[in-house]
Symmetry: C2
Amino acid sequence: MENFEFYSPTEFVFGKRRELECGKYAAKYGAKKVLIHYGGGSAVKSGLIDKVKASLTEAGVEFCELGGVQPNPRDTLVYKGIDICRKEGVDFVLAVGGGSVIDSSKAIAIGTVYDGDFWDLYSGKPIEKALPVGTVLTIAAAGSEGSGDSVITKEDGMLKRGAGSDLIRPRFSILDPELTQTLPAYQTACGATDIMAHVFERYFTNTREVEITDRLCEAVLLTMIKETPRVIKDPDNYDARANIMWAGMVAHNNIVGVGRQQDWNSHGIEHELSGLYDVAHGAGLAVIMPAWMEHVYKHNVMRFCQMATRVFGCQMNFEDPEATALEGIYRFRRFLRDIGMPINFAELGAKEEDIPTLVQKLGIGSGTRGGFMELNADDVTEIYRKAVRAEI
Amino acid sequence: MENFEFYSPTEFVFGKRRELECGKYAAKYGAKKVLIHYGGGSAVKSGLIDKVKASLTEAGVEFCELGGVQPNPRDTLVYKGIDICRKEGVDFVLAVGGGSVIDSSKAIAIGTVYDGDFWDLYSGKPIEKALPVGTVLTIAAAGSEGSGDSVITKEDGMLKRGAGSDLIRPRFSILDPELTQTLPAYQTACGATDIMAHVFERYFTNTREVEITDRLCEAVLLTMIKETPRVIKDPDNYDARANIMWAGMVAHNNIVGVGRQQDWNSHGIEHELSGLYDVAHGAGLAVIMPAWMEHVYKHNVMRFCQMATRVFGCQMNFEDPEATALEGIYRFRRFLRDIGMPINFAELGAKEEDIPTLVQKLGIGSGTRGGFMELNADDVTEIYRKAVRAEI
C-alpha cells in the first residue's frame, strides 16, 4: 500500500425531504448571501427551486440565482456567475442539480475570489481560495457532491478540463433519493455507468496488496449491479434509488481509491467524445470503458479475473484464466447494454473518421498517458477502434 | 434505507514515517500549546514520544505531557489531564497511542473547557465544546482515530460509560502501520476482533434494503479475514498491517453503518466483562459476540446466511438455511480461536458465578435493550451462559 492522505470533510444530509433543511445548513456554514445555481427548467418546474428559496428565507439567508447550466458545463456561464457573485456580494454558492451544476458552482466559487481569468485554474494553476459551496443533489452520477474536483468545457473549441482542491469540497451536500425518481431511464443509466467507471478507474492499479480498497471498490460495484436494473424497471423504487445515490458518493470521495496508483485513462479518452459530440459522459464511458478493458487486460490478467469472479460472479477458469478475464469484460458490457446504454460509436452518434481528431485533441502527442497501462497515441487509437466495432 | 447524516471531517495522514509530520499538522489546526498524552512506557522506549516532541518543536508548537493511560482508561487520569491543561494553557490535545489513549484525550479535551465534573458528560449531558484533538495511532483496533466517541471507566466501581459528539472527532489522525509492527500477537488479535465487532454491530440490523452499507461491511470483514492471520504469522508484514490499520478506521467512522438501525448489544454486554475483570476489550468481544449470535440468529436466519455465505464463504444450504447460519457462526468462532483469542469465560478469566453481578451492572433491570433483537435480563444471562460453555 502507498502512503496517502484522505480528507472528506463534507457534511452529508441524506434522505427524504432533507432539501427542506438547506437554509439551516447554509446558515450553519456562514452563508449570508447565496447564489442558487441550477440547470434547465426541471428544478424550477418541479418546485424544487421554490422550496430551496423558502428554506433559505426561513433561515434568514438572502439569495440571488443563476440557472441554465448545460450538461458538460460551459465556461461562458461560469463567467456570468462570477459577475453576479461579485456584483451581489455573494458569499456562498449553492448548487441545486447534478454533477454539471455542482462543477459549474465550484468554478464560480473559485473564480469569484480569483484575481484573473478563472480558466487559469483549469489550466494547471493551483487553487488558493474559494467561496464555500453547498449542494442539493438531483442526479446520482458524478460524485461531485463529495469530491474536490470540477470539470468545465471551454466553449471555444469544446475543450474539457478539470481542476481540483480540498477548498472546493462542498461544506454540506443534501442527498434526497426522491429527487432522482423523476429522472428518465436513460439518464439514470448514464449516471450508474459513471459511478461504476469512477470505481473501475481506481480498481485497475499496479499497486499490490491494497485488499481493503479492492474490497470497498467491489462493494460499490456489486451494489450497482444489484440496484441499477431495479430502478430501470421501477423508477419509483426509493430504496434502490437510495442505495445508488449513496454509492455514487462513496465511489468518488476517494474512500475506494486511497493507497494506490489510479488510472483515469478511460475518463480522459471519453472526455474527448463528450466534448466533440456533446453526448452524456456516462454514455461515452459505456462505449469506452469495456473497449479500454479489452485493450489492457493482458497487462494483468489476474486482476481482471478478480473483477470477473468477485464482481460479476464468474467461475474462475483455472486452466484458462484469460477466458475468465474476457468473460468479466463481456458481462460488464452485457450489463451496460441491459440497462440501455450504447456500446459502440454508431449507437453513441460518434464517427470512426473522427478518431484522428479525438486522439489529437487528447494532446497525447508522441508521449504516453500513465496509469494501469501506459498508453501512447496508437493505443488510444486502437481503443477508439475497438469502441467502433463493439457488439454483443 | 433510513434518513441519516454522515460527517467525518478528520484529515487522515497514512503511511510510513508520517508521525514525523505531527508538528506540521498540529500547527495547521491552530495548536500553540499541546498536551502530549500517551500510555505506558513503550511509546517512550521506542523513541516515538521523542520524535513527536521534535516534530512539534520544529513546527514551533509548545508542549507538555502526561503518560500513564491504562487499557480501559480511567477517570482519575482524565482529572489529572484536565488540571494540567488548565494550568499550562493547553489548546490542543495530541493522543499518541491506541484507543484508550485517544479516548482519554477526548475526555480531557471536553473536560478542560467544561465548567463542572467531566463525568457529567459521560452520564448523558450533551457535549457543547471541546479542545481540538489530534492522534498518532499505534494500535489498529478501536477506530477512535476517526470517530466522535470516547469510553471511560470510573475507577470507583469500575463503571464503563461512553460519550459522543462531532466536537471530539480528531482534526487529524496520523496512521503509520509500522508503529503497529512491534505489537504482540495477542494484542494484534484483540484489535482485529474489535474491528470486526464494530462492523458486526452495524451489520445486524432490522432495516431492510441497505445493500451499499451491507456490502461495505462485508468488504471490511473480508479484508480482516484475509489479513489478520498473515500478521499473526508474520508481524512485520507491512501491507497486511496497513490494510488492517485502515480497515480499523473504516469500520468505525460510520461509513459502514449509515442508513440503518444498529445493534451494539455485544459491546454493552462485553463492557461489563472488561470493566469487572479488566481484560482486553477485544478478548471480551471474542467471547461474547459469537454467543450473542447463537442467541439471536433465529430472529433473522437469512441475515446470518448472508453473513455465512458472503463473509465466511459457506455454501448456502437451501434445504436447511439454519444450518448455513450456524455454520457461519461456527466459522467466526473458529477464526477467533485460530488467531489466538479466548472463546469462553474460563479462557478469559471470567467466572460463571459473577453472571448475576454482570447482568445487574448492565443496568437492564426489568426493561430491554433494543437493537437487532430486543434483549431482557434473561436473554443477557443466557448469552453470558452460552459464553461460559463455548467450545470448538
